[in-house]
């Protein structure tokens, strides 16, 4: 414990002198101010729709939309992704039918737009009058989420968590370059203290950044322990990954390539976040997915509290795996290799 405290002091000091905190807080201020003041709370536009066509409508043939063939698939898809609006086409030309399946947080504009789109589709089949529709609410009716606030969970994933990856990698590379890791190896310090200290410092810095953004956009969410746990677990996991990868490189310019690759992969859940109909269900296995979707449910509830629990559970498993693997890699490569 004493060794960890000592190493923590050292890492915190070198990270501070390396301006890690300055960069993090600076970025958080820029992002927070942009979300708070530059991005509007509402914009005109449609949502993403998941459509079940039980008729074989011409207008949907080859349309750039997500089609499913059965009602079970439709309902399953809507449960899976709470940002989707379901549209069910059935009946026939004399008696066209449309059912809108809404999550409960959609705006009136979005409902109207979906209904109008459905009418337009039936008109392609020769229906001349406006098509009536029924609405089914899948969850409790809640106010629609302000658009600008939906950027906050996105930035938790793209800024807070990815900074953890970068900072941990850079810290290891700097210590390799300066030779200080060699001196550490000839000291009583343990591998676990070395790893734990860096993870704690990097996670702490990233959380300060997340705190600044949250304070600017949603100050009421600051004391949320589950949000803190989501961010801490994801950032710590990614800092372990950054450390584990950086060990295999000798300088920052070479680390740039895995850094860029990791940045791209970790950003992929953003596509699903912004464009729910894009599918990409496999991105749920990327840790930033859990942060984005779990944090959104905490900040902007859409009736899916289990998203938070499953995200926390998954991130905990990722963290435990990353901790074991990261420590083993640091011990095997960094602490043994001359």
């Amino acid at each position: 414990m004493r060794a960890l405290r000592s190493q923590l002091r050292l890492d915190a000091r070198t990270a501070y002198r390396g301006k890690f905190l300055h960069v993090t807080v600076g970025m958080a201020l820029v992002f927070g101010l942009l979300i708070r003041f530059a991005v509007p709370a509402q914009i005109e536009g449609g949502g993403s729709e998941l459509i079940q066509d039980a008729v074989g409508l011409k207008a949907l043939n080859g349309a750039m939309t997500q089609l499913v063939s059965t009602e079970a698939e439709l309902r399953g898809g809507l449960v899976e992704n709470p940002d989707l609006v379901g549209v069910q086409f059935f009946g026939s030309v004399p008696t066209p039918r449309v059912r809108l399946l809404l999550q409960g947080h959609e705006s009136e504009d979005l409902r109207g737009l979906s209904a109008a789109t459905a009418t337009r589709v039936w008109m392609e089949e020769g229906v001349t009058s406006r098509t009536g529709h029924v609405v089914e609410l899948l969850g409790p009716q809640v106010p629609p989420a302000p658009l600008n606030e939906t950027f906050l969970p996105l930035l938790y994933g793209l800024d807070t968590v990815i900074l953890g990856f970068l900072f941990a990698g850079v810290m290891v590379l700097q210590e390799k370059a300066h030779g200080t890791v060699r001196f550490y190896r000839a000291s009583p310090g343990s591998t676990s203290a070395y790893v734990a200290s860096k993870v704690l410092v990097v996670t702490g810095i990233a959380l300060v950044g997340a705190g600044v953004m949250t304070a600017l956009v949603r100050p009421d969410a600051l004391p949320n322990l589950r949000l803190l746990a989501l961010l801490a677990l994801a950032t710590a996991s990614l800092s372990l990954l950054g450390m584990g990868i950086a060990i295999f490189y000798d300088n920052l310019s070479r680390f740039f390539y895995p850094m860029a690759a990791a940045g791209i992969v970790l950003s992929l859940p953003m596509i699903r976040y912004g464009l729910p109909s894009a599918g990409l269900e496999w991105t749920r296995w990327i840790p930033t997915h859990g942060v984005m979707f779990g944090a959104r449910e905490l900040l902007l509830p859409a009736g899916r509290p289990e998203l938070v629990t499953t995200s926390l559970g998954y991130l905990l498993a990722v963290f435990l795996t990353a901790a074991a693997a990261g420590t083993a890699i640091v011990h095997g490569r960094l602490m043994r290799r001359i």
């Binding site: 060794a3 050292l10 070198t14 300066h178 200080t180 001196f183 000839a186 000291s187 009583p188 310090g189």
Partner: protein, 285 residues
């Protein structure tokens, strides 16, 4: 006491052994100098002794305990000064000395006093990244002494230092020895080794080619000589005579008896001479 028995080490992919069947012992409270040119195996031996490299063959014992059986607590008693300074460049000299202080059980020395002792008192609050090479070398040396280690490994501690600062470092190493520390000094500076070491091991291509006190090495492998300076027709000439040879001994008696000389010096062999004699090559890096 540190004992090495038949130590061998080969780097992966290398055809030749970096350390080839090396055996020597360092008594408690003495300075042992490993002398040899770059690539002779000095740093490899030091790295094995501080567990940065594994013991591939032979054995190493610290106070009777096999090195491989010692856990990380072993480093509580070890101080290392690496040849290439490994410092935190954004931290000051004082902060660098305190950087790993929390890892040791021993009561630490006063960092400020230690920095003053190595001539860095005025620069103690300056970032180590702004230090000159010599200043970094002194800071690394000071850091090795912070926790009063029982075993001290010093790799070229006087490299790049001016003569006055070299003297300071030599005095500090002697003080550590007098305190009871067991010290391994690796260097190719024969002058420093000669003045500081109780025993010297001469390394050549990974093998130990000599191991004795500096005086015994010079006596055993060097030639006794006397250098005579005298004026011949107004011109100063120097004559080197070897008293072990009968003719030179007679000549020396004549000159000494006649008083026909200006200066008369014994010209003792140096460790460099000994090394050249034993290996056929010099000590230069």
């Amino acid at each position: 006491m540190i004992e090495l028995q038949n130590l061998v080490h080969t780097y992966p992919g290398a055809d030749q052994r970096a350390v080839d069947d090396v055996s020597f012992a360092i008594d408690t409270g003495t300075v042992f100098g490993l002398l040899g040119p770059s690539g002779a195996g000095k740093s490899t031996i030091q790295n094995i002794l501080i567990k940065l490299l594994p013991v591939q063959g032979g054995s190493v014992r610290f106070d009777g305990a096999e090195l491989s059986s010692l856990d990380r607590d072993f480093f509580q008693d070890v101080g290392v000064s690496f040849e290439h300074p490994n410092l935190f460049p954004t931290l000051s000299g004082l902060e660098n000395l305190g950087a790993f202080a929390g890892l040791y059980d021993a009561t630490m020395r006063d960092a400020g006093e230690l920095l003053t002792a190595v001539g860095l008192g005025d620069a103690k609050n300056k970032a180590a990244g702004d230090y000159s090479k010599g200043m970094k070398q002194r800071l690394v040396f000071a850091r090795a002494l912070m926790h009063r280690p029982r075993f001290l490994f010093l790799d070229e501690p006087t490299s790049g230092l001016d003569p006055a600062t070299q003297e300071t470092i030599i005095d500090l190493v002697r003080a550590e020895r007098d305190r009871g520390a067991t010290i391994l000094l690796t260097t190719h500076n024969m002058r420093v080794a000669d003045r500081l070491c109780d025993r010297i091991g001469l390394l050549h291509d990974g093998a130990l080619v000599g191991n004795d006190t500096p005086r015994n090495l010079k006596l055993a492998h060097g030639e006794r000589a006397v250098r005579v300076e005298r004026r011949v027709d107004g011109t100063l000439t120097t004559e080197t005579l070897f008293p072990d040879q009968a003719a030179d001994r007679r000549r020396l008696s004549e000159l000494a008896g006649s008083g026909d000389y200006e200066t008369l010096h014994t010209a003792e062999a140096t460790l460099a001479d000994v090394f050249i004699k034993l290996t056929g090559r010099g000590l230069a890096a």
